[in-house]
Amino acid sequence: MYPILFLSFSGLITLFLGFFQEGKWVKPATILFLAIASISAFIDWNKPGAYFFNMLQVNNFNLLLSLVILITAILIVAISDNFKEIEYAHSAEYYAIMQFSLVGAIMMTNFQSLIMLFLGVEILSVSMYVLTGTDKRNLRGNEAAIKYFLLGAFATGILLFGIAMIYGGVGAFEIDAISGTLASNQAQSLFLYIGLVMLLIGLLFKLAAAPFHFWTPDVYEGAPTIFTLFMATIVKTAVVFALYRILHQSFQNMHLSWSYILAGCIALSLIIGNLSAVKQISFKRMLAFSSISHAGFLLLGLLHVSKTADKSLLFYSVSYLLASTSAFGVLLALKNERTENGRSNENISVFKGLATRSPFLSAVLIISMLSLAGIPLTGGFWSKFYVLTDAANDQFFYLIVLALLLTAVGVYYYFKPIITVFEKSDIQEAITINPIFKIIFVLTTLGTLVLGLFPDLLYGMI
C-alpha cells in the first residue's frame, strides 16, 4: 500500500526534477525512489489487512509480489540510458510515467475490489501506450503505439463490460463478496457468467495470450527496447497475478466454466507462440513470440486451483523476469553496434562474433537463452517443471504433452542466437560495456543459475 502512495508522489517530483541541470539527476533519483518504495513495502510486513474501505488487500504474499515488481523495475531503470537516441525526448516524463505505471502494477497485484483492478489495468496500460510511442519520429514506433492503443482500449471496454456484469450478478465489487455469493449455492446467474468470460478475455489480452495476442509481436518490435522489456516483464507479472486472484480466490467455484476457456487459450498460445518464433529474424520479435508461449505456460500454472499454484507462478515469473532482463539487456548493450540509417539493428545477426568480441556478454546471452528454453541447471527448467507438475491431471493430459513437444521446438529457436554468437564476424574489436550493465548482468545471470541449482531457496521460501 505504501509503495503506491510513495510512487505517485515521487513520480510528480521526478517530473519537475527534469528542469534542473537538463535532468541529469532524474535517473539516479528514480532508482532511489524505487529503492525507498520497495523498503516502504515492509511497513505492512506481517500485518495483513485491508486499505481504503476494503479496496486494497495487503498480505505477505502480495507484498512479495510488489517487491518483485519494484526490484525488476530497478533493474530495468538501471540499464536504461537517458533516451538520447530519441529526438525531442523528455526523459523525465518517461521515468515519471514508469513510476506511475508501477503504481498500476502494484494495484493489480493487491486489489480487493474490482474497481482497483480496473484502475490498475488502466494506469498500467495508458502509461504503456505513451511509452510505446515515445520515439515520435519513428514510424514503426507510431504504428506500434496506435495498434497497442486501439486494441488495448478495445480490450479495456470488454473488461469493463465484464466487471459491470459481475457487479450486476453479485451487487458488489469485492472479490471476497463474489466468492461468498458463489459459495452460497445461488443459481449462477447469466450476468456472473458473461461477466467472468468478458473479464477473463480482457485480462488474457493484457497477458498477450492467444487468440488475443495479435498486438504483441508488432508492439514489442516497434517499441523502444527498454519499454519492450518493461512490457515483457512487469506487465506480464502483474496481469498473471491479477488473474490468479480472480480465478483462484474469487471464481474458484466456477472452475469448470473457466478452465475450458483457459485450456483453449493455453493450447493456442503454445502452438502459435512457439511455431511463429521459429522463422523470425528480429530478436525482439522472436522474444515477443516466445513471450506468448510463456504466457501459455503461466496460464498452465493457473489451470488447476491447487495449493502450490501461487508458488509455481511466482517462481516462473521470477525466473522469466531474470532471463528476459538479461536477454533484452544484451540487445541494449549492443545498441550502438551495427546501426543502420541511424536506428540500431535489432536482428539476431547483431550477435555475430560476440563470443570473440565480448565473452562476458555472450555468456549472459547464452545462459538467458538456456533459461528461457528451460534447459536444466537454469531457473527456467525448474519453473516449467513446477508449473507442469501443478497442471498434471488426467483431465488436461494432452496439454502437458503438447507443452513438452513445443518446448522441444522452443529449444530449436532459442539456440539460433547461441549459434549466431559463435559465428565469425567481420568486426573484431572488443565491446566496452558500462559498469552498471555489468553489475545488472552479473546479478540476473547469477540469479538464473542460483534458481537453477538451488530451486528451494526461492520455492521453499514462499
Binding site: L12, L15, F16, F19, H90
Partner: protein, 154 residues
C-alpha cells in the same frame, strides 16, 4: 395515463416533427438554382483545399487535450460537494469534517494544478506565432529612379 418517460418520448417526437416541418417549408418557399460556386463551402472568400482535417492547426489539439483532462477531473467534485456540507457528519465531528474534506479537495486540486504547471513550464500553453520573414534582397538600382519615372508618366 402516460408515465414521465412517455412525456419525454412525446417531446422527442415533437421536436423531430417541428424540425422536419420548418425545413420542408423553407424548401417549398426558397428559389432553388444551385451552381458550383454556390455549393462551395464558405472560407471567407478563399477556395477550400485539401482534406477538412488539415485546416486545423496542431496547436488546437494540445490545448484541447489539456482542457479535456482538467475539465473531466471536475467530475470528482460532484460527489465531494454532496458530502462536503453534510450537517450530520459536521455535528458528529464538531466541524472537523468540513475542514477535513476541504483540505482533501485542496490536495486534489493542488496535484491537478501541478500538472498544469508542468504543461506551462514545458511551454505547451504559449501560442507560438510564425515570425515575419524580411526579404534580404537589395537591388542596385536606387529607388529615386523609379519615382522619377512615376512622376514622368503620371
Amino acid at each position: 395515463m402516460l408515465s414521465q418517460f412517455g412525456f419525454i418520448l412525446l417531446f422527442i417526437v415533437g421536436a423531430f416533427l417541428m424540425l422536419a416541418g420548418i425545413l420542408g417549408m423553407a424548401r417549398l418557399l426558397r428559389p432553388d438554382k444551385p451552381n458550383d460556386q454556390k455549393l462551395l463551402s464558405y472560407e471567407s472568400g478563399e477556395n477550400a483545399e485539401g482534406g477538412s482535417l488539415v485546416s486545423f492547426n496542431i496547436r488546437f489539439y494540445v490545448i484541447a487535450l489539456i482542457f479535456v483532462l482538467f475539465e473531466v477531473e471536475l467530475v470528482f467534485l460532484f460527489p465531494w460537494s454532496v458530502v462536503f456540507g453534510d450537517k450530520q457528519l459536521i455535528e458528529q465531528t464538531n466541524g472537523l469534517w468540513g475542514w477535513f474534506s476541504m483540505a482533501e479537495m485542496f490536495v486534489f486540486i493542488f496535484i491537478l494544478s501541478l500538472g498544469l504547471v508542468y504543461a506551462w513550464a514545458q511551454g505547451h500553453l504559449d501560442w507560438l506565432r510564425p515570425d515575419q520573414k524580411v526579404n534580404p534582397f537589395k537591388s542596385e538600382i536606387p529607388s529615386d529612379l523609379y519615382e522619377n519615372i512615376n512622376k514622368k508618366y503620371s
